[in-house]
Structures are given as structure tokens and as C-alpha cells.
């Protein structure tokens, strides 16, 4: 689907910095992050622990303070009252067990946003909760049960129903699949795809798992150490990765050949000793094409293809990239 010209959510130059009150230490969780979210589109944020994925999501919804512009429908997000903000943006957390109140029945958990944000009365709530539980595949007969009576996958469905309750335009989903079994994970991926079609939602989907991101995203933002290293539409990113970090990430995907269905030995990229050199590129210590300038100054974001941006000194500009691709294709045909 072609995105309409105006994004629903426009994030530009977002910084999130945590300050320690005691020692005056600063931790930069995100710096200069910019991306857009269009209607009916899913943006996948991918990165490892500490890449700043959650901090960005928290800053969008206002759980932590960020500096920079977060524009919702062209208006600064802080200009909305919290209640208005939550009507437009909802959040799904990683662990459904701790995000649902153990002493609230499913009905009470889901009707809470309905009462607080939309001022529904009890009968309206009842009808709406039934509708939502239907949409996420929880039998309505279990509506008055407590969270502990459900399995992990069901709890995540309930958390999704609660996020959907107020008909938000954007849902921020922070690793919603990582605490689930593979078979349940597949069910929830299916549910997300289904709900997006049904309610024309936009998602900001956070994950460390490239495989999950592939199924759910239209546009992928790759984060490293709080900064965007590459962003591109899904297919573009998978076919023509430019940044050396993205290439590493893609090479570690479980190569699964559906033909003979071999789950090949899984390889991971080891980022344990990626450090943050003062003022340089975050990938500097691990990069095999690093140059001197990479250590001393941060590269600027460059456009290398349609909607495809890379933050790397070695990246060629769009024209060069396109010529390169044509040559590659020719060489492939010859061989």
C-alpha cells in the first residue's frame, strides 16, 4: 500500500538522555533518532539490548522525557494532554504477566481505558469488551477470570485487546513476542497481521529478532548504541543492506531453507565488546572497513536509495549505489 504523503507520527532528532542524580553521570540512550510512521504501516525497530529501542518508544508516549520533535498529526506530542495522547497511542509491553494487574479480571483490565479515556458506562463497556475479546480470540465466557487463569499467549492477547480498546491510531509494541513459545509466537504474529488489516492500525514494533521483524514490518529502522545506522523499506533493506552492521545482522539470520526445511546452525553476531568511542561511529571497533575518520567523528546520514538512509562514511551516494547495483546484477547474469 502506498503511504499517504503525511505521516501520522513524525520523529526527528530525538535524544533521550538519562541523568544520574547522584554522580551527575549521563547515559545517552538515543541520539538524533528520526523516522516517520504512516497510516496502516508498521515500523520495525531492531537492535540489541542497550540499542535504545525501548527508550525511543517510551519517549514517544511520554513515559520518559526526550529532547527533539515528536509530532503527532503535525502537532507536538507534549501539546496533547496525556489522556488525548493515550487515545491515539497505546502500548503493549514485553511481559504480559507483569503488565496485567493480577487482581483485576480481564473485563476490569480492558474496561479501564474505556472508562477513563472514553467515559463508557457499564453496558457499553460490556459490549465493547466482548467485541475486543472476539477480535483477539479469547472466549468471552472467560471475561471475568483473573490473569493467572490464562496461559502466556492468552495473556498477551488480553494485553493486545486492552491496547485496542480505545481505537488508537498507533500501537507501540515493545518485544511483545519474546516471552512466548515458538508456536504461540506464530499465533500472535498472525493476530497482529490480522488486526492491522481489520482496524487499519499503525505499529511501531520493537524486537531484537530479525525473523519476527520480517513478518511484521513494512519499514525497518536498525539501531546501534542509540543511533540509527540504517533505515529502509523491508525488502530494500534485506536485498541491499549497506551498513556493515546491518550486513552482519542479516548474515546471522537462521538460514531456513523451506524446500528441505533445514534449520541451519544458527549464527549470532557477537556485539559484546562494541564500545562507544567518544564522538566516533559506534561500530568502529568491530567494523572491517573502518577508516581513521570513523573513530573521530560521527558520519552523517546519507540517502542511498528510495527512502533508504545509511549513517556510514563508506556508504556511496544514491547515484553511485544505483550504478553499483546495475553492475552487480550484470556480473551475476554473466556468471
Amino acid at each position: 500500500m502506498l503511504p499517504p504523503t503525511e505521516p501520522i507520527l513524525k520523529i526527528s532528532g530525538l535524544d533521550v538522555v538519562y541523568k544520574s542524580r547522584l554522580k551527575g553521570l549521563k547515559t545517552v540512550a538515543a541520539e538524533g533518532v528520526s523516522f516517520n510512521v504512516y497510516k496502516n504501516e508498521t515500523v520495525g525497530l531492531i537492535g540489541e539490548s542497550g540499542a535504545g529501542k525501548s527508550s525511543i518508544a517510551n519517549a514517544i508516549i511520554g513515559l520518559v522525557e526526550g529532547e527533539g520533535d515528536v509530532l503527532l498529526h503535525g502537532k507536538e506530542i507534549n501539546a496533547y494532554s496525556p489522556l488525548d495522547r493515550y487515545k491515539k497511542i497505546q502500548y503493549i509491553f514485553q511481559d504480559p504477566t507483569s503488565s496485567l494487574d493480577p487482581r483485576y479480571s480481564v473485563f476490569k483490565s480492558i474496561s479501564e481505558p474505556l472508562i477513563n479515556l472514553l467515559e463508557y458506562d457499564r453496558t457499553q463497556c460490556d459490549a465493547r469488551v466482548r467485541e475486543l475479546l472476539d477480535a483477539v480470540g479469547i472466549p468471552t465466557i472467560k471475561m471475568h477470570n483473573l490473569p493467572h487463569e490464562f496461559s502466556g499467549g492468552q495473556k498477551q492477547r488480553i494485553a493486545i485487546a486492552r491496547a485496542l480498546a480505545v481505537n488508537p491510531e498507533i500501537i507501540l509494541a515493545d518485544e511483545p513476542l519474546s516471552s512466548l513459545d515458538i508456536s504461540v509466537q506464530a499465533q500472535i504474529i498472525h493476530l497482529f497481521q490480522d488486526l492491522q488489516k481489520k482496524f487499519s492500525l499503525s505499529f511501531v514494533f520493537i524486537s531484537h529478532d530479525l525473523n519476527v521483524i520480517w513478518y511484521l514490518s513494512d519499514y525497518i529502522v536498525v539501531l546501534l548504541g542509540g543511533a540509527i545506522v540504517e533505515k529502509a523499506p523491508k525488502k530494500e533493506l534485506f536485498q541491499h543492506p549497506v551498513h556493515p552492521y546491518t550486513k552482519e545482522l542479516l548474515s546471522t539470520v537462521i538460514a531456513n531453507d523451506k524446500e528441505n526445511s533445514t534449520v541451519k546452525k544458527q549464527a549470532f553476531f557477537d556485539s559484546s565488546d562494541i564500545q562507544n568511542p567518544e564522538g566516533g561511529c559506534h561500530f568502529y571497533t568491530k567494523c572491517n572497513i573502518a577508516q581513521k575518520e570513523c573513530m573521530n567523528s560521527k558520519p552523517q546520514s546519507k540517502k542511498v536509495g528510495p527512502d533508504h538512509w545509511v549513517t556510514c562514511y563508506s556508504a556511496k551516494t544514491q547515484e553511485n549505489c544505483l550504478t553499483q547495483r546495475r553492475e552487480d546484477a550484470k556480473a551475476q547474469r554473466k556468471s
Binding site: I182, S183, V212, W214, K258, V263, Q266
Partner: protein, 322 residues
């Protein structure tokens, strides 16, 4: 002769309204120097089967109804406590899932590693030397300094290495690793997985590796056991399970692994919920409510063991080899 053999093990939990089956007629074995991977979803009995081996299940309300667990000639279920203690933590050691809660937060890792060393004739200095050597071996570059740290001072990957060192100290014959990779980052998992391979290859220790992540299990195991609803449904060599699964559950599980870059965006999934053995009972295939090939016989009896080459499986309607 296999190192550990579990034969027809049936156990259950006692509830006020009757017994809940946990393991049903479970049999498997592991040979010397072998890595057996156990996969299955939460509640399939992976962990309970190994906890029963070590006698770590709560005595109250947990009933072992029948079966035997043979290890070096004796039955761990009938031998007395003294004998079990000479095996548990000595010949069979275990690595638990959550490294932070498996370590005592109040004690330094030196104290905890000393506890893990069996009473031998070694002097304290010799013991410390052995501990430092083992820590080096599992990947601590600066073991001498790190040995007096508390668990909270170590990163998740390092804690997992401490647990692994603890399991290695008594020179066991078998290490049971219960989801050692599920509470750490994907990038760290790689290092831990290669450590397990090293343990197996260099020290020739057998490993039971439990995980719900097929990728992790496949990368370390020689053989894979697939469990569902307290039963073994399929066991074969790693390649056999991955390339020619016979049980519909194994097939469905493999299909539902998301794979980046695959054509199409619809991910197959297994409809329905994990089985409730109180409803299904033990005289049916636990997978029948979610199975595509279900027939009446699946609902009334559990199939006998079938074999195909190296594969053993339990299904009335196995998938063909192609």
C-alpha cells in the same frame, strides 16, 4: 549401553479434584558423550522429566506412579537417599534457567564455587586453583580478580558461565542444562552455545540440553527429543528431526519458526491452545485437538512406538518421508 535411561515414567500432581498427569509413559535415553536436545512448549514436561531424574521435585503432592530411571546400573527412583546424593551434584549436575536466581546474592562466587566442589582430599589452595582453572576454561579472562565478585557485579553471560563452571567442577558424567540460553541476549547465546559444544567435545561429557528454541537445540545436539503433553512424540538425530519430521506436531512446530527473507508474509501457526491433560486424558494422543490428520483412533488410544531408520515416533498418521 546408555548412560541414563528413563523407562515408562508416569508421574502426576495430586490436586483436590484428582490427579493431573505431568509425564505420561515417557522413555528416553542418552549415551556417553552424546548431546540430547529436548524441545517442546511450556508445560510439555521437559523440565519435570529432568527434575524427576535428580529428585528435585516437591515431595508433597508429586506422585511417581510407575517407571524407572537407570543410571550406571542403579534405579535412581528406588535407591536410597545416600546413594542419590552421591550421584546428584557429583556425577549428574544441573545448570538452571535463570542464572541470577540460581546464585546466592549474598555470597561471592568463590564461596559458591567452593561449595560445588565435592569433599576431596584437596587442600584449600588446590581447590582454589582448580576453581580458577575451571573459570578460565569457561571463558573468564580475569578469573583471579572476578572470583571475589558477587553475582550482581557480573553480566548475565558471565553469571551463566559461573553456573556452567559450577556444573563442571565435580567432573560429572552428565550435565543437564535447563533453558540455559533463554534468559540471556541472543548475541550472548551464541557464546554459551559454543561453550556447551566445547564441554561436550573436549571433556566428553554428555549433555541434556532443554530449550524451546529449535535453533539453539539444533546447533548443539546430536539427537533431538520432541515432547508434547508430557509424552515423547518423536526422537531422532538432529538432521532427522529437522529434515524429515514424522510427527505432525514436529512439522507444525518447524513451520511456525519465523524466518526472515522467506517468500510470502503469512506465517503458518498451530491453532488452539496447549493441551490440558485433565480434559484429554492419558488414553489419547495429546495433540489430537490441534492436529490436521485427526481420526477417531487418535482420540481413544495413544499409538504404539513406530520406527523409521533412526527415528522413533508415536503417531497413527505419520508424515511421509518426502
Amino acid at each position: 549401553m546408555p548412560l541414563l535411561t528413563i523407562k515408562n515414567l508416569t508421574t502426576s500432581f495430586k490436586e483436590s479434584d484428582g490427579l493431573i498427569p505431568i509425564l505420561v509413559d515417557l522413555s528416553y535415553s542418552i549415551g556417553t558423550g552424546e548431546v540430547l536436545g529436548i524441545v517442546g512448549e511450556s508445560g510439555s514436561g521437559k523440565t519435570m522429566s529432568v527434575k524427576t531424574v535428580l529428585g528435585l521435585c516437591p515431595d508433597k503432592d508429586y506422585r511417581i506412579q510407575s517407571g524407572s530411571i537407570l543410571f550406571s546400573g542403579g534405579d535412581l527412583l528406588t535407591l536410597n537417599g545416600k546413594y542419590l546424593r552421591s550421584i546428584r551434584g557429583r556425577e549428574i549436575t544441573m545448570i538452571f534457567q535463570d542464572a541470577l536466581s540460581a546464585l546466592n546474592p549474598y555470597l561471592t562466587i568463590r564461596t559458591q564455587l567452593l561449595e560445588a566442589l565435592p569433599d576431596t582430599n584437596l587442600s584449600k589452595a588446590e581447590k582454589l586453583h582448580k576453581i580458577i582453572e575451571t573459570l578460565h576454561w569457561v571463558g573468564f579472562a580475569d578469573a583471579e580478580d572476578k572470583i571475589s565478585s558477587y553475582p550482581f557485579e557480573l553480566s548475565g553471560g558471565m553469571r551463566q558461565r559461573v553456573l556452567t563452571a559450577m556444573a563442571l567442577l565435580p567432573d560429572p558424567k552428565l550435565i543437564i542444562a535447563d533453558e540455559p540460553t533463554s534468559s540471556i541476549d541472543a548475541t550472548l547465546s551464541k557464546q554459551i552455545l559454543s561453550l556447551f559444544k566445547k564441554i561436550n567435545v573436549e571433556k566428553n561429557i554428555s549433555i541434556i540440553f532443554i530449550s524451546h528454541n529449535f535453533g539453539h537445540v539444533a546447533s548443539v545436539s546430536n539427537r533431538i527429543l520432541v515432547m508434547y503433553g508430557g509424552r515423547a512424540v518423536e526422537v531422532d538425530t538432529t538432521d532427522g528431526v529437522l529434515t524429515t519430521p514424522a510427527h505432525p506436531y514436529t512439522r507444525a512446530l518447524l513451520d511456525s519458526i519465523p524466518v526472515a527473507g522467506s517468500s510470502g508474509t503469512a506465517l503458518p501457526f498451530i491453532p488452539g491452545d496447549p493441551p490440558d491433560l485433565r480434559e484429554i486424558g492419558i488414553n489419547a494422543c495429546p495433540f489430537y485437538p490441534r492436529c490436521r490428520f485427526v481420526t477417531n483412533e487418535c482420540k481413544s488410544s495413544f499409538p504404539d512406538k513406530n520406527t523409521r531408520n533412526t527415528k522413533e515416533f508415536f503417531c497413527y498418521h505419520p508424515l511421509s518421508q518426502s
